[in-house]
Assembly symmetry: C2
C-alpha cells in the first residue's frame, strides 16, 4: 500500500517551507535538500499553490512560502487533494471490470478502512512535521 510520489513530494515541500518559514524557499533548494527531481517538484508546487497551501512570490528574489500557518494545514486535507482517486483496489476506479462490483462487500469494507486511515491523518497538521532546519544538512541563504 503506497501513497503516490506526488503526495510524498507535496508533504516534503510543505515540510521544507514550514521549516524555513522566515524566508522564501525555491524549488531548486527543496530539490537539493532532498536529492529529488526538480521537474517533479515543480508540478507538485504548482498544485499546492493552486490549492492555497503555498504562495508564489514572483521576481528575481522570488520564491515560495506557506500561504497559511502550519497549524492550519491538516495532513488529511492535503492528502485528499494530492491522491486523485484513492482507487485502493480495482473496483474503486471508474473503469472497474470486476463483475462482482455490484454485489461485492469488499469496496465498502476497504472504504471504511480508508476512512480510518484519513481520520488518523486528520489528527495532525503541518505544525507536527516542522523540523529543526539543521536537519536538512544543506543550509543556503535565500536565493
Amino acid at each position: 500500500m503506497r501513497l503516490t510520489q506526488f503526495t510524498d513530494y507535496a508533504l516534503r515541500i510543505l515540510i521544507f517551507a514550514a521549516t524555513h518559514s522566515d524566508r522564501l524557499i525555491t524549488i531548486e533548494q527543496t530539490a537539493d535538500a532532498y536529492g529529488i527531481s526538480r521537474n517533479h517538484l515543480m508540478k507538485v508546487a504548482n498544485h499546492l499553490t493552486r490549492e492555497g497551501y503555498l504562495k508564489a512570490v514572483r521576481g528575481r528574489s522570488g520564491g515560495l512560502t506557506l500561504a497559511k500557518p502550519p497549524a492550519e494545514i491538516g495532513l488529511g486535507v492535503v492528502i485528499r487533494t494530492t491522491e486523485p482517486d484513492f482507487a485502493i483496489v480495482e473496483c474503486f476506479g471508474e473503469e472497474s471490470s470486476c463483475r462482482l462490483t455490484p454485489s461485492c462487500r469488499l469496496k465498502g469494507i476497504v472504504g471504511r478502512a480508508l476512512a480510518a486511515f484519513l481520520a488518523e491523518m486528520d489528527q495532525y497538521t503541518l505544525a507536527d512535521l516542522t523540523v529543526d532546519p539543521t536537519q536538512f544538512g544543506i543550509e543556503r541563504p535565500a536565493a
Copy 2:
C-alpha cells in the same frame, strides 16, 4: 493510495473459492470469471497455498479449495502477507534516501494511520465477502 495488484488478486481468488466452497476451483475458472491474467493469478495462488489459506489438490480432477473456513480468514491478516512492505511513503522503505528520516515525525504519523487502516480490515473475514455464485455470471461444472 493503492493496495498492490497482488493483494487485489489474492482477495479475488479467496472470494471465488469461498463462493464455490462445495467444489474445487481452478486458476483457469478464476481467471475467466474475473477476466484477468492466468499467469498473475497462478503466482498469487501459490502464495496463498504457502501461507495456508488455499489447499491444492493434485491430479486430473484437482484444483484449489479453502484450507480453512472463511470465517477464520481475516482480511487484515491476508493483506499483511500480500503487501510486502507497506512502504506507504518513501521513508518506510529500507533504502530511504530522505535526509529527514531520523528526525521527521511523518513516518510515525503515517504508521498510526496505517495501523488504523489494518485494524479496520481486521474487523472482517472472508465470510463477509462471500457472494451468491450467480454473481459471477459464468457457471461451469468443476473441472
